[in-house]
């Protein structure tokens, strides 16, 4: 039964890819689907790109095992969207072409900015890919009893087929299909779980409190340190506005107004989904039970599929598992496409070729980069076997918020921003977040089994994000760049899509 749902989804999405492939003839089609995606389509695709395995499997598991604490992730993942809306979406659409580095480099010197942006983007994409591949490997192993390594390779191969042949068009449709499946699947699962409690969420929460103590409804030990809570919160909030695969989606719509409406659709869908995670998590806690969830996966990642089995039997388990698999495939495809855009558009076309490459060459390099990243994803998935999915995504957000967000924001709104400031801020953000992750208790105590960690916080955001801003401001003050300042008027005009006055 499960296999049937899997094959139907894969066959259908490959069919979509085939249709999309016939229309993908230029770099603009490969990266941005020709810029003709509608607001509702892009809103669904943004939701599809964003609601990853970490959201569906990870958060449901966290809530099922630790109650209220898991909801901190649900809420944190949503609050980044108003930041994207108010600060980033529309100016980004008007200033760039394929990647967010287009915007940062707009009035600065191309090569140094793009190299630094590529380093930050690839770090984010790699951490995010690890989380998705590990989730996929576990899920397929659980369902079909396949070897973990083989499962990871299958996911990598199917995803490569989407991106390689169908580019952004296929990726967008895979994400739309996945978002619709995920939203309806999660809704159905929540309704079926609630039917056991007279459709009253409060009765469900009450049952959870009766069984596991009233403490599950309030904050517990997951965030024991106040600074840890703030660090995670800051990273989740500002990270969304620095995720390369999310930012790239704003180039698929024709204008700023559509970018605006796509964020409002996306926020509506994503918020609805995260409200459902409240029900799914507590539902699994009561109807499946914490011991049964732990017995299958210590991290709780299988709570949602187990809940499906408890309320709907094997057929529903098959459906929900296929939805979870679709979720992972779509996110991996989006990430790979964003990574490929960075490698080919930022590094090859703009740094190696100085912006002078034929359409055919751009497309070839983009496809070659896709293969490189697909192989990288498979290797990372195998190397990082056994990592906690939601936590890895939290780290990807921290790197995105430290490396990409400050430079992107300052390049659009601060007149005196400079090439050197952008470069140093992106490098400092990437380096500091990576080093602090390495020094954190999670790596030092949990993985390397050392007695103590030299950095107390599990998430580096609270230090690395302000550091990146401080470096940017200090460097720009010390070494001003009059040429970049002179071109700021052009940025201001482009942000509002008004033709610049002739100078």
């Amino acid at each position: 039964m499960t296999a049937l749902f899997f094959f139907v989804f894969i066959a259908f999405s490959l069919g979509v890819t085939y249709v999309a492939a016939r229309r993908t003839h230029s770099a603009a089609h490969f990266y941005t689907a020709g810029g003709r995606v509608t607001g509702l389509q892009n809103g669904l695709a943004l939701a599809g790109d964003y609601m990853s395995a970490a959201s569906f499997l990870g958060i449901a598991g966290l809530v099922a095992l630790s109650g209220f604490d898991g909801l901190i992730y649900s809420i944190g993942f949503l609050v980044g969207w108003p930041v994207v809306m108010f600060l980033i979406a529309e100016p980004l659409r008007n200033l760039g072409k394929y990647t967010f580095a287009d915007v940062v480099a707009f009035r600065l010197r191309q090569a140094p900015v793009r190299v630094a942006a590529a380093i930050g983007s690839l770090a984010v994409v790699s951490f995010y890919l690890i989380a998705q591949m590990v989730g996929a490997g576990n899920l397929i192993r659980l369902l079909f009893g396949l070897e973990y390594e083989l499962a990871v390779m299958i996911v990598g191969a199917v995803m490569l087929a989407y991106v390689l042949f169908g580019g952004m068009m296929a990726t967008t449709w895979v994400q739309i299909i996945k978002a619709v499946l995920l939203l309806s699947g999660a809704f159905l699962l929540a309704v079926m779980a609630l039917s056991r409690f007279g459709f009253n969420p409060l009765a469900l929460f009450r049952a959870a409190a009766d069984q596991y103590g009233v403490a599950v409804l309030g904050p517990g030990r997951l965030v024991s340190n106040p600074f840890d809570a703030m660090s995670l919160g800051l990273a989740l909030m500002l990270g969304t506005a620095g995720l390369p695969h999310i930012l790239m989606r704003f180039y698929t719509v024709p204008d700023a107004k559509t970018a605006r409406s796509s964020v409002s659709y996306a926020t509506a869908f994503i918020g609805f989904f995260y409200l459902l995670t409240f029900i799914l998590g507590f539902g699994a806690m009561v109807l499946v039970g914490q011991p049964a969830i732990r017995a299958i996966d210590a991290g709780g990642n299988m709570a949602a599929p187990l809940l499906a089995k408890a309320v709907g039997g094997d057929a529903f388990l098959g459906f929900i598992s296929a939805v979870a698999f679709a979720t992972i495939l779509a996110v991996v495809a989006g990430l790979t496409l964003a990574g490929a855009a960075t490698l080919s558009h930022d590094l090859w076309v703009n740094v190696v070729r100085h912006g002078d490459a034929s359409e055919l060459e751009q497309l070839r390099v983009a496809r070659a980069s896709t293969i490189v990243l697909g192989v990288l994803a498979i290797v990372l998935g195998i190397v990082f076997k056994g990592q906690n999915v939601a936590y890895m995504v939290g780290l990807a957000f921290a790197i995105a918020a430290s490396a990409n967000f400050p430079a992107l924001l300052l390049s659009m709104f601060w007149r005196r921003f400079t090439t050197r400031a952008a470069q140093m801020s992106m490098l400092a953000g990437t380096a500091s977040s990576l080093i602090l992750i390495y020094l954190s208790p999670t790596i030092q105590i949990d993985i390397l089994k050392n007695a103590a960690a030299s950095f107390p916080l599990r998430n580096p955001g609270l230090v690395s994000i302000p550091l990146s801003f401080a470096v940017a401001i200090a460097v720009a003050r010390l070494w001003p760049e009059p040429e970049a300042e002179a071109r700021f008027a052009e940025v201001e005009h482009r942000v509002h899509a008004i033709p610049a006055p002739r100078s």
Binding site: W81, P82, M85, G218, F227, S261, T267, P499
Partner: protein
């Protein structure tokens, strides 16, 4: 938005018993406020879209017309 969210995070960090207290049986203040943060994000975005469609777009059109 940042105020709502950081208010919520600071409560999580510093006043756990308050968020754990029950409003009605089965509903803790923490869960209620958490749902409120999500609804607040919806409302803020809805207000922004209405403002932008009505005032911002017209203002930009006027500027374009003047050139």
């Amino acid at each position: 938005m940042m105020l709502f969210y950081f208010g919520f995070i600071l409560l999580v960090a510093y006043d756990k018993p308050l968020l754990g207290s029950l409003v009605v049986p089965g509903l803790s203040l923490g869960i209620l406020l958490g749902a409120f943060v999500i609804v607040a994000a919806w409302v803020l975005i809805w207000i922004y879209v209405r403002w932008a469609n009505k005032h911002y777009d017209t203002a930009i059109e006027t500027l374009r017309g003047e050139q």
